[in-house]
């Protein structure tokens, strides 16, 4: 049976290239795996809010590529509710469709994965 893979995003979008690399990996993996789950925790939630203009800091604007997740059938996208609240945001401010998870629900989801990758 196919392994359940979870990708955890914990970094802000433009401070490093980590967020971009994680999204590249997620889109590539989606071609081989249909049980992908993507998690946004901590500063990772900043990847999903606002309209970024990465060109201002001489980077490539990868935020629109988040829309590709749906096209690639990556639909299990989870956001840590606590992280979102701590930073003063709500679900309707996210640029993609996602499910909010409480700390306990998040623990359960993470436990269900066969393999986890943290960015």
């Amino acid at each position: 049976m196919e392994k359940k893979i979870g990708i955890i995003n914990r970094q802000s979008p433009l401070g490093s290239t980590t967020a971009r690399e994680s999204l590249d990996l997620t889109l590539a993996l989606s071609a081989f795996n249909e049980s992908l789950s993507v998690f946004f925790i901590g500063d990772g939630v900043y990847q999903l809010v606002g309209q970024h203009d990465a060109n201002l800091v001489l980077q490539k604007n990868f935020q629109p590529m988040l829309q590709m997740l749906a096209l690639y059938d990556v639909e299990q996208i989870y956001v840590c509710e606590k992280s979102l609240q701590e930073r003063g945001f709500s679900l309707d401010q996210l640029v993609i469709k996602a499910t909010l998870l409480s700390t306990n629900e998040l623990k359960k989801q993470l436990e269900m994965q066969d393999q986890l990758m943290s960015f």
């Binding site: 802000s12 500063d43 003063g88």
Partner: protein, 96 residues
């Protein structure tokens, strides 16, 4: 007079705290890179930042705010040119 720059997110690092604890009365604080998040988030340092704001000693870099689509409640928004002016104006600089 020292120009202090903080560049890390307040949620992942202690740079802001470390900097504020060592800020002298005439020093300047400039938030750059992920630290611009501080401008819109509620941290335990709100009072300290507000005090700096009132004294005109708190600045945030425009390119880092705009690229992240972040607004700020405190501080003066400056461009790279003003950043250079601050660096010249100050005797030295500390990057936290």
């Amino acid at each position: 007079m020292i120009l202090h720059t903080v560049s890390e997110s307040p949620f992942n690092h202690f740079s802001l705290q470390h900097c504020l604890e060592r800020l002298s009365d005439d020093d300047i604080l400039l938030l750059i890179n992920d630290a611009v998040i501080i401008g819109q988030s509620t941290t335990p340092y709100q009072q300290a930042l507000l005090a700096l704001h009132k004294q005109g000693r708190l600045f945030l870099l425009e390119a880092d705010l705009k690229s992240r689509d972040i607004d700020t409640n405190v501080g003066e928004i400056i461009d790279y040119k003003k950043f250079v002016e601050l660096a010249v104006q100050c005797k030295s600089q500390i990057a936290w």
